[in-house]
Amino acid sequence: MKEIYLDNAATTPMSEAVLTEMTDKMRNVYGNASTLYGLGRESHTVLEQSRHIIAQSINATDDEIVFTSGGTEGDNTAIIQTAIARKKEGMHLITTAVEHQAVLQPMLYLESLGYEVTYLPVDATGHISLDDLKNALRDDTILVSIMSGNNEVGSVMPIHEIGELLKDHQAWFHTDAVQAYGLLDIDVQRDHIDMLSTSAHKINGPKMVGFLYKREGVNIPSLLKGGEQEEKRRAGTENVPAIAGFAKAVEEITSAEKAARQEKYAGFKQQIVEGLKANDIAFEVNGDLDRSELQHVLNIWIKGISTYVMQTNLDLAGIAISGGSACTAGSIEPSHVLTAMYGDDSPRIAESIRISFGRGTTAEEIDQLIASITAIVNRLKKRSEVK
């Protein structure tokens, strides 16, 4: 039986072209990019070509891209180092209640150091209100960190409007674009974004590499100190093979490809919703099906069946889905995102699953998912009737 992978928001397999690029660079371009001689210069060239490809993908300039070890490092750096650098200008930060833990945990840490953090609420579709943001902004706000798209329910935040609102305020605007990069057209100029973090392994690139975009003039100290790599903005020998692999993954996702994926994934969502309805499954979508969201994520509440039971049964049937986000590291904790959307007494919190599509997902796999969910629900229903 071929297993079906519908957990692409957790991680994605590397594309063949990316892996080939990486192993080629491991074999052939192994100099340390900081060394003086030819081998190092070659590494340096690959590094800078990759940086250019990636900068273009968000309409930034090359020197605004700093490579990192992934989304967690990008988020931690943007938040903690901004707080340290701008302490004199204020100690207030704003974020949302539904961010990834890589944003929320640094915020908690800053609170322990005496900073104040406002967590914007979300509505039942997982969106913040701009009015809430306006009301939360203060003269001493130094950073607003709001994700581009949510990893559990796919809600897309009003990034352009937030950028417009903040462009005349001292607060810098950071967005965690880990889930959105590769699906939405991101333009840091158009949207007045000051910092943006991404991760390669969510877009069929290698693990443990990402970038932090920092607008020119956004000066924060490096989180990792040491050698003078990345123009002193991030110490550590550059992971040239992984960075080249990342650039290859980015190249594979053209604007047309992004649009095509969004459309294909939206079709999968419809297919699931209609399929489950036709099979008389009692369920509801967590979020807004009619809005243009991150279409690779569908979060549904299957009434009366716990997340863990559904996940385990689907796993036995060879289908990988998730109970929410893969982090917090293997633990089964109630989703803070669903809690923020529906309150902590909603049955949705214990009875929802996240299905996330990737470039390899097919309509046949979606049919199998529908059939498996239906079979599991009916089997469990029958069992409870027997009791």
């Binding site: 297993e3 992978y5 957790a10 991680t11 590397m14 892996l19 491991m26 192994y30 100099g31 340390n32 900081s34 060394t35 003086l36 001689y37 081998l39 070890s69 992934g70 989304g71 967690t72 490092e73 988020d75 931690n76 990834h100 833990q101 890589a102 944003v103 640094p106 908690l108 840490y109 392994h201 290698p206 693990k207 443990m208 590499v209 989180l223 990792l224 100190k225 040491g226 050698g227 003078e228 110490a235 550590g236 020998t237 992971n239 040239v240 093979p241 992984a242 996940q311 385990t312 060879g318 990988a320 889905i321 998730s322 109970g323 986000s325 893969a326 982090c327 917090t328 590291a329 293997g330």
Partner: protein, 386 residues
């Protein structure tokens, strides 16, 4: 082509690359996921951790994965500072550490911590009496590298460990990035050491890999927080393919370690024996066991290090000025300046760094190239003297 710059980075081993390739294709799930893809990735992650722990003779729970040596050093220093700040604000290190230590310490100074940099003697070695004098009731950490990355000095870790037995609460950290696989495991893993930093790409494992050893019961605060991976101490999705490849690299490195060390030492001595006969040469590395077998550093007085590096490159031999991390700055070596070597000499220093694949034939070629280039160096040196 002869690659003599293994302290900057090493070529990934073909077996390491095939492990990376195979795992990337087959076991690419997120280890935190609860489904089968995740479970396979988790199992491989823990097998790799077990393999590394077994190879080093420590326990599974004492190995934590990082993105490399820089992260490991930053984490242990800042994580100790944060964890133990109610007990004290004083840290001790040496004047010859890698920038990942030095610049982390400088950052901690900006945050109100006090740092003592121990001086070194003419061999680049600290004196344990200086350490004893520097220790205060408020000292929370002592960080001493195993092997200096610029000239190869092995630090007296055993003596440091013996002294620190009287200070059980002080974290003792060893940066072993240059020391692993070089025949000094007993020294690095002496029973007083609490934390050790390792970097994968220095031993033919992929870039962006590394791990720290953290002795059971010794606590540091996380540097990266988020999803709670690595027992809530290092967040970020684990790079399982690269970690499995790193475990493979470490196993290969430590197979026949004694033989490999002897070979590197013989090559080192063969080169040092040759170049020391030339009047313009000043040796910094020494032909004895208090220096690592794979690093040799010397100056050709009156010729800039960059010039020497390029001259050898034209002969197909890749060496470096001192460390790769500072080589672009045209700066004098920090280790040599801590040894009070005048700048006129230290800017003429070069480093040759070996690995287990280098051969005596390559050393002969290096020596022959040296003979060929020496007249040219002599001319340059005379011009400088004028």
């Amino acid at each position: 082509m002869i690659y003599f710059d293994n302290s900057a980075t090493t070529m990934a081993d073909p077996e390491v690359i095939s492990t990376y390739d195979a795992v990337s294709k087959q076991i690419w799930g997120n280890p935190s996921s609860l489904h089968n893809f995740g479970e396979q990735a988790f199992n491989l992650l823990e097998q790799s951790r077990q393999q590394i722990a077994d190879l080093l003779g420590v326990s599974l729970s004492e190995i934590l994965f990082t993105s490399g040596g820089t992260e490991g050093d930053n984490w242990i220093l800042k994580g100790t500072a944060l964890e133990k700040r109610q007990f004290g604000n004083h840290l001790i290190t040496t004047a010859v550490e890698h920038p990942a230590i030095h610049n982390s310490m400088e950052q901690l100074k900006d945050l109100g911590f006090e740092v003592t940099y121990l001086p070194v003697d003419e061999h680049g070695r600290i004196n344990v009496a200086d350490l004893k004098a520097a220790l205060r009731p408020t000292t929370i950490l002592v960080s001493v590298m195993a092997v200096n990355n610029e000239i190869g000095t092995i630090q007296p870790l055993k003596e440091v460990g013996d002294l620190l037995k009287d200070y059980p609460k002080v974290h003792f950290h060893v940066d072993a990035v240059q020391g692993i696989g070089k025949g000094i495991s007993d020294l690095i893993f002496n029973d007083r050491v609490d934390f050790i930093t390792f970097s994968g790409h220095k031993f033919h494992a992929p870039r962006g890999t590394g791990f720290i050893y953290a002795k059971r019961g010794k606590r540091i605060a996380p540097l990266l927080s988020g999803g709670g991976q690595e027992r809530n101490l290092r967040s970020g999705t684990e790079n399982v393919p690269a970690i499995a490849a790193m475990a493979k690299g470490l196993r290969l490195l430590l197979t026949d370690e004694d033989k490999k060390v002897a070979q590197q030492r013989a090559i080192r001595d063969h080169i040092l024996d040759h170049v020391k006969n030339y009047p313009l040469v000043t040796l910094f590395s020494e032909e004895n066991e208090s220096f690592a077998p794979h690093i040799l550093c010397f100056a050709i007085r009156g010729v800039r290090g960059e010039t020497i590096v390029h001259a050898f490159e034209e002969q197909g031999i890749f060496i470096s000025t001192t460390s790769a991390c500072s080589s672009k700055k045209h700066m004098a070596s920090s280790t040599l300046s801590a040894m009070r070597i005048p700048e006129a000499i230290s800017t003429s220093a070069i480093r040759v760094s070996l690995d287990e694949h280098n051969t005596m034939a390559e050393a002969d070629e290096f020596n022959a190239a040296f003979d060929k280039l020496y007249d040219q160096f002599k001319k340059l040196s005379n011009e400088t003297a004028k």
